[in-house]
Symmetry: C2
Subunit: 343 residues, 2 copies
DNA sequence: TATATTTACGAAAACGTTTCAGTAAATAAA
DNA sequence: TTTATTTACTGAAACGTTTTCGTAAATATA
């Protein structure tokens, strides 16, 4: 009835079986020099035979390396993040790293908790896309202060923080989208932004602003809205926006979910898109291409972002992390406007 | 230039600072009885003060528990899996468990590799949705044989395997969908299935079959297709299907991506849905509800599946895993037909 | 008072790996 | 030949916890 099975599978067992010391087995397994070819092959065959797998807890305890990387993300279900995570996970796997994925659900409390948990797990590095509301980053100090490199992407610290930073070119994305609308003839452009506590919405607003200014159009603050980009919030905003004329002739949305909501609202109200109302989203969520009319949006190339993250993480891990020498100037990844039927 | 910072934060450091033994500190941290209230509080304040976090590698080495659970999934980007994973991750987090998420990309080779990696990480349990092509499950033996419980969901072993099994009621889902089509008057029903190496497609076909038989309609094999459910494959199949009349009057698809592809194909060909062609999908992917016409599909309640998985995993971990006493009869979760405009 | 029981703690071993320091044997250099 | 160098290995300590066993003190029981 007892479940313990009798084959143990430690380095020591192999050492005993071969009349060698554990040290030698370890050297073979780690490809150290100064071990004779004949012993090496003897060890390797025995390792194969008993199906030995290194105990990561033991080796991690000794070396302070876990070959595991932590990831904190608001929600894995958000399209861009799903894609980025996939790229990260595949990239790291080929390099022998595991990924512990955690969701903050956009809660600052959970994010703090996760930072501590990942420290307790002694991961080798932590990759973070922070919550919408993270403005104080001191809960990551426990990582940086203990030489665990931190890498922010997408949603990143606005103030200087000793970490690697990778972000999309959000201001350019919004600039392209806005210019596109203006060139098509839109003048009363509404803008639905996320909360300005988050860099991506700060930057997108800046891009919007820049394009408007460049074309000599003044921004009317009653056409600009700031809130979490949920369906409910978007609908409330739309009711305000279309409470009385003059209606806007275009809505620029800081994400695609909002753009989709605007589209279905417009259909309900009998407005035709793009004739009565042009709509632009952000992120190129797959849904934006299959609705009728399809929605113009900004591609962020999440797969490429993931690859950049992987290479930066590996660089940090290879070089030995030196906080003092860390380059904290953001790496900016490109965006592209995708024109579709909604404009 | 050296980066090592001088504050160490081990149990031993706290013990020294308080003139106690490490054993006592450990007992406090683990809420063991027989430690005096005054010492307990002294220890706790010191723990707070220095920001002590348990080193999981050390405690894991000693106890053989990592508080980490492994997850192997074909792709985290598949809607149902995204939702299930989210539920699992949130549920386990509240119980103090971490989740290592791995993607097999539907490759059997990678899946084998991941099973071994997770064993090396000595996770406490492994949750698996296997690849479309996993028919031999022996690569999971290393886990079960070393008392690491394995739990399959959605895509599960067809043959008996010593693991907990949680699956959707796929045959009923397909039965409901097919019956629905028949009741609406469809008689020439095409069925696009995934590869029959995977239980979900076996079961869905069985449900399709049952409904057809029950209504006295014989299945015409030239209307049934088996292949991986990609857009490209679906389009090839559609070209065959509509190469010559008589056309089918309905297409039942084993997933929503295929249903979406059928819809856009129908639009291209000038067929109107549902008048000329009825379409049903499977999984209630969010895209199925926003296209025009919206697509009838089968809801699997991924959130609920995730919760079931969490409670089963916790049960296995709490009770102490006893392979002999393991109940391997599948837990079947309910489905529901969602009627929409495509039928 | 003497004895048994409970409480609060410490000493030390153990988990499985890596690595430093050491050594014997083999080879090269003097 | 002797001495230096290289090669191939071993012994033992260390990583930070947990846990068993032991013990002294405090309390209860006879």
């Amino acid at each position: 009835m007892k479940k313990k099975n009798n084959k143990k599978n430690s380095i020591q067992d192999i050492a005993e079986a071969l009349q060698l010391s554990p040290a030698t087995i370890s050297r073979v397994l780690n490809n150290h020099p100064h071990v004779h070819e004949s012993t090496r092959s003897k060890v390797m065959t025995m390792v194969e035979q008993v199906g030995y797998k290194r105990n990561i807890m033991a080796s991690g305890l000794r070396t302070n390396k876990t070959n595991t990387i932590g990831l904190i993300v608001p929600r894995i279900s958000m399209f861009v993040h799903t894609e980025i995570i996939t790229a990260i996970q595949n990239g790291l796997h080929t390099q022998g790293y595991n990924l512990i994925i955690c969701q903050s659900n956009d809660s600052l409390e959970i994010e703090k908790d996760l930072a501590h948990t990942l420290y307790a797990s002694r991961v080798d590095a932590v990759i973070v896309a922070c919550t919408l509301f993270t403005s104080d980053f001191s809960h990551f100090d426990i990582l940086t202060q203990n030489d665990i490199p931190v890498l922010f992407y997408d949603r990143v610290p606005v103030k200087p923080y000793p970490a690697c930073i990778i972000k999309g070119d959000d201001s350019r994305g919004a600039y392209l989208a806005t210019s596109h609308l203006i060139e098509l003839g839109s003048r009363r452009i509404a803008y639905i932004s996320g909360p300005m506590s988050c860099n991506i919405y700060i930057d997108r607003y800046a891009g919007f602003q820049q394009a408007m200014r460049q074309h000599g159009i003044s921004i009317q603050q009653e056409l600009v809205f700031y809130h979490e980009l949920t369906v409910d919030n978007a609908r409330k905003t739309l009711h305000k926006l279309f409470a009385r004329e003059p209606y806007p002739d275009a809505v620029l949305c800081a994400n695609d979910l909002t753009a989709l909501t605007v589209l279905s609202f417009a259909k309900e109200k009998g407005m035709s898109v793009p004739q009565d109302l042009r709509i632009v989203g952000y992120s190129n969520d797959p849904r934006s291409s299959i609705v009728t009319p399809s929605i113009t949006t900004v591609e962020q190339f999440p797969g490429r972002i993931g690859n950049v993250i992987v290479s930066e993480v590996l660089k940090l891990l290879k070089n030995g992390y030196d906080m003092a020498a860390l380059d904290t100037t953001p790496i900016v990844t490109p965006v592209e406007l995708i024109r579709r039927m909604s404009t």
